[in-house]
């Protein structure tokens, strides 16, 4: 995606086939059998802009070649450092973490059961591990191990990059005083405020387009800001994350201002809104969606990429005092 392309997620996909081997005695050569697509487990890292030295969320999605997915429960993640492009090394074991299932909004979260293979209509989501700390920049592998209902132990591995520093605004940094488009912006295409305007000529949640980040900062108001393109998302994990933020705004409107920033000013002309570019466009790439929580003092409190847990975001909003 990318020299000016919006990449929904920066993936490095390694397909790990579950290989069945048969061995026979007498020195005869072993044979390998490629499993059918329904048994080939693919792993993708859903998180982007991972960097050294800070606890972060790492999300992974697992799916089979026939598009069924792994859903519910928890999986175990083991990370290993494999060096840089210039200096690859043998895998050096790193952190381990347990990842919990985060459903795409409006899909089942599960009831505490173990991971299971589901069709997309039954469930779809990712597994997120919290507080993963990387101690060096370069390429890392993540191996996921899951105890899957009716399948036993399944594993898959993939590779992803970790940078020395975050490319995008990160927790602890000051928020950019962005003048994003709002319902009050004049002379701009309505679809540039929310791409869903193309559906029926209306913007479904105008309350998310009332305030700019700059205004919130000036008024010393916390802000929950979602950068997303509900219509033009191209990702395996596209989902109604914007709707989730809108739902949170209805419950926690007294704790923060809620802002949706559409990615595209004009998708067909490949023009990004300036606000989205300021926050997310780096080195010819832009990843979305992103969710940022900005404190009343203008400092970024937290951020999420790809998919986020409603409960987790709500818990952080509840820690904010009511706005006066």
């Amino acid at each position: 995606m990318w020299a000016m392309r919006v990449r929904a997620l920066a993936w490095v996909v390694v397909v790990v086939a579950l290989v069945a081997t048969s061995c026979s005695s007498g020195g005869q050569p072993a044979t390998t059998t490629t499993p059918p697509p329904s048994q080939q487990l693919n792993l993708e890292v859903a998180s982007t802009d991972l960097y050294v030295g800070a606890p972060q969320r790492v999300g992974v999605g697992m799916f089979f070649a026939d598009e069924r997915t792994l859903s519910f429960g928890t999986t175990d993640l083991a990370f290993a450092f494999i060096g840089t492009a210039q200096a690859p090394v043998k895998p050096k074991p790193g952190p381990e973490a347990t990842a919990s299932y985060v459903p795409t909004p409006e899909t089942p979260a599960g009831t505490g059961q173990s991971p299971a293979v589901t069709s997309p209509s039954q469930a779809r989501g990712i597994y997120v591990a919290e507080n993963v700390m990387f101690d060096r920049a370069g390429f890392w592998t993540v191996t996921v191990t899951a105890q899957v209902k009716d399948r036993g132990t399944l594993t898959a591995m993939t590779t992803f990059p970790v940078a020395q520093k975050p490319a995008l605004p990160a927790p602890g940094q000051p928020a950019l005083p962005t003048q994003n488009l709002t319902m009050h912006s004049k002379g701009v295409p309505r679809a540039a405020i929310d791409s869903r305007y193309t559906n029926d000529g209306t913007i479904p949640d105008p309350e998310l387009h009332e305030t700019t980040i700059a205004q919130a900062l000036k008024r010393h108001e916390p802000a929950l800001v979602v950068f997303s393109t509900p219509v033009y998302c191209i990702s395996r994990f596209c989902g109604p994350v914007t709707d989730l933020v809108d739902a949170l705004s209805k419950r926690y409107g007294d704790r923060a201002v809620f802002i949706h920033i559409e990615i595209y000013r004009d998708f067909q002309q490949q023009v990004i809104n300036q606000a989205a570019a300021d926050w997310l466009y780096r080195n010819g790439e832009l990843t979305e969606p992103w969710l940022y929580l900005i404190g009343a003092d203008g400092t970024i409190v937290d951020r999420w990429s790809s998919l986020w847990s409603r409960e987790e975001v709500a818990a952080e909003l509840e820690q904010l005092p009511p706005m006066t």
Binding site: A3, E106, P120, S121, Q179, S185, R196, Q215, R265
Partner: protein
């Protein structure tokens, strides 16, 4: 007001660059043309045809649960793959596909299918075939 005037949006326009794995065509008669591809992978004729057939079944679904299953299990992900590949060559066609898809997805979120659902799915099928045409694939229309 002042903030809003100064804060007029500056459009950032950047030229496309071809994906390293973008689909290309050409070569001599002895060289098979590569399949179209984008950020989400390769579009195969079989997968594309299956996705369009899935839309036919979504259109004819008797109720929301059946429509949901047909859409998400048989066509949704492939539509994203097609859109990603189409985006490399024809953003208008990719945009039309994504817009039509979002319309159908929004309707599938409702407990009951709205009256214009079948027509919207038909439109999505048409947009899908348009996108496929732009990347050199031809699949049958819904019957």
């Amino acid at each position: 007001m002042r903030g809003r005037r100064r804060g007029g949006v500056l459009a950032l326009s950047v030229a496309l660059s071809l994906a390293a794995c973008g689909g290309g065509y050409g070569g001599d008669a002895s060289t098979p043309s590569p399949l179209p591809s984008g950020s989400l992978g390769v579009v195969t004729p079989g997968a594309a045809a299956a996705a369009v057939q899935g839309l036919c079944d979504v259109r004819d679904a008797p109720d929301a649960p059946v429509a949901n299953a047909a859409f998400y299990d048989r066509t949704h992900q492939e539509l994203h793959v097609i859109a990603a590949a189409t985006e490399e060559r024809d953003r208008q066609a990719a945009g039309a596909l994504l817009e039509a898809m979002q319309r159908v997805e929004a309707e599938l979120e409702r407990p009951l299918l709205p009256g214009g659902f079948s027509a919207d799915v038909e439109a999505l099928a048409g947009a899908t075939r348009g996108a496929l045409d732009s990347i050199g694939l031809d699949v049958p229309a819904c019957t």
